[in-house]
């Protein structure tokens, strides 16, 4: 068993994943790790987190669900996780003893601020045991002015005005020729 745990940890390091902390090594013998624990990005940008769900037990792990959790670390920011990712729940295939599954979670930074993301894995049976969770990924999202709106009004009015003038000119010319 010890050798298997070492093998899982070694393979996690090999794949560049950050192994789960003490909270993740739950009693259900599932370990969750992520490829990074800090992300800095800008509002509106897309980013992804790669997670690895390893079965450290001696038998195959079946009927598991992985869920992506997104929350604001500051009380003044309202956050709706659905806006961040439209595919936050994944039903996992059976993981053989010592095996693992890698899942990529794609997200879009919808709120500026300090955001925490973590992945929880729990059984589909709904057994009342604590889920296995990965380490917190701290996402720092900078505010960003997306577009300089100055100058849009002349363009937005100018082009239709030009076409309207052309159209009226054409109509007057037609009337004059008749």
């Amino acid at each position: 068993m010890m050798r298997r745990r070492l093998l899982v940890s070694a393979s996690a390091v090999f794949f560049g994943l950050v192994p789960a902390g003490p909270a993740a090594s739950s009693s259900n013998q599932i370990a969750v790790s992520v490829d990074r624990t800090a992300i800095a990005t800008s509002l509106g940008h897309k980013f992804s987190i790669r997670s690895r769900i390893a079965n450290t037990g001696g038998s195959a792990a079946t009927a598991l669900v992985a869920h992506l959790n997104v929350l604001s670390l500051r009380p003044d920011v309202y956050l709706d996780p659905e806006d961040w990712s439209s595919h936050r729940t994944r039903y996992l295939p059976a993981i053989p003893a010592g095996g693992s599954v890698t899942i990529t979670w794609r997200m879009q930074a919808v709120n500026a601020g300090s955001i925490a993301v973590f992945i929880a894995v729990l059984p589909q049976s709904g057994d009342p045991r604590p889920p296995a969770t990965g380490p917190t990924v701290h996402v720092s999202i900078a505010r960003r002015k997306t577009l300089n709106s100055g100058g849009i009004l002349p363009l937005a009015l100018g082009i239709p005005a030009l076409l309207a003038t052309l159209s009226m000119g054409l109509r007057m010319r037609r009337r004059a020729s008749h």
């Binding site: 509106g44 595919h87 300089n148 709106s149 009004l153």
Partner: protein, 266 residues
């Protein structure tokens, strides 16, 4: 004699196209449709640039949104012109004189198809300043316009051909426009599907098979995700096939089935 025929043949469709272009643009209909198109793009660009909620969009996504609306509405304008091409003449009572003119029906169809495509060309030209304004500073204006021109031209050719095809077999303009718009709405329906329905092999196949959804997906990949032109080229298969197939069908139907009454055959 053979030389005379060779030089005369290409001119017939060009003459038809020139006459149609004059009717469309000097008659004022083309300008009015372009005015409505530019009004729509102006409102959209203004909202994207100033509205708090829409301004949240990343700059690339703003360009993508504007470009996709321009492609969809520009292609719609071309479809309307195509759907009016034959049934409109039939309804106005001018088809008979056209059929009696020394121009083959194939060339007549080709000339009308090209003239209808001019609405898309005008829409593309009008889109340039909006895309430039929204995309300046992030270096995507050239790519966005080139992708929009490619995908929009393929979709416009497909829709114009579809409109002409329907118009050939329609007894009245109302039927032709209704059928064409219904087909267009049906083609746009998958864009409203929930995200979950667009995933998996079936959803992927459905999106790829529909020329409109696959064309717009390709534009999004280039403009938003910054992919290279070749990376998602497979998404262009459906627009290319649809454009070629429907242009050929319209040409064959125009050459063989164009009748005064709008019925296929008796």
């Amino acid at each position: 004699m053979a030389t005379v025929e060779r030089t005369a043949r290409p001119r017939a469709w060009a003459i038809v196209a020139a006459q149609e272009l004059r009717d469309l643009w000097l008659g004022g209909r083309g300008l009015l449709l372009s005015l409505a198109f530019s009004g729509l793009l102006s409102v959209l660009s203004y909202l994207v640039a100033t509205n708090q909620a829409l301004n949240f969009l990343e700059q690339r996504e703003s360009v993508n949104l504007t470009l996709q609306v321009a492609i969809a509405v520009g292609a719609l304008l071309a479809l309307l012109a195509g759907a009016d091409a034959i049934s409109g003449e039939r309804e106005r009572g001018s088809l008979e004189s056209l059929l009696l003119s020394p121009v083959s029906r194939l060339q007549l169809t080709a000339g009308k198809l090209l003239a209808a495509l001019s609405l898309w060309v005008a829409a593309l030209v009008l889109t340039i300043p909006y895309v430039w304004f929204l995309g300046r500073g992030v270096g995507i204006v050239g790519d966005a316009l080139a992708t929009g021109a490619l995908v929009g031209t393929l979709l416009a050719l497909f829709l114009v051909s579809l409109g002409v095809l329907v118009s050939i077999f329609s007894g009245s303009n109302r039927v032709s426009l209704s059928v064409s718009l219904f087909v267009l709405l049906a083609l746009f329906a998958p864009t409203q599907f929930p995200t979950s329905a667009q995933q998996g092999w079936a959803g992927d196949l459905f999106l790829r098979a529909n020329p409109l959804t696959s064309g717009e997906h390709y534009v999004g990949k280039i403009v938003v995700d910054g992919h290279s032109w070749s990376q998602d080229a497979s998404w262009l298969a459906s627009p290319i096939i649809a454009a070629a197939l429907f242009a050929a069908l319209a040409a064959v139907a125009g050459g063989r089935f164009m009748r005064l009454s709008g019925e296929v055959s008796r």
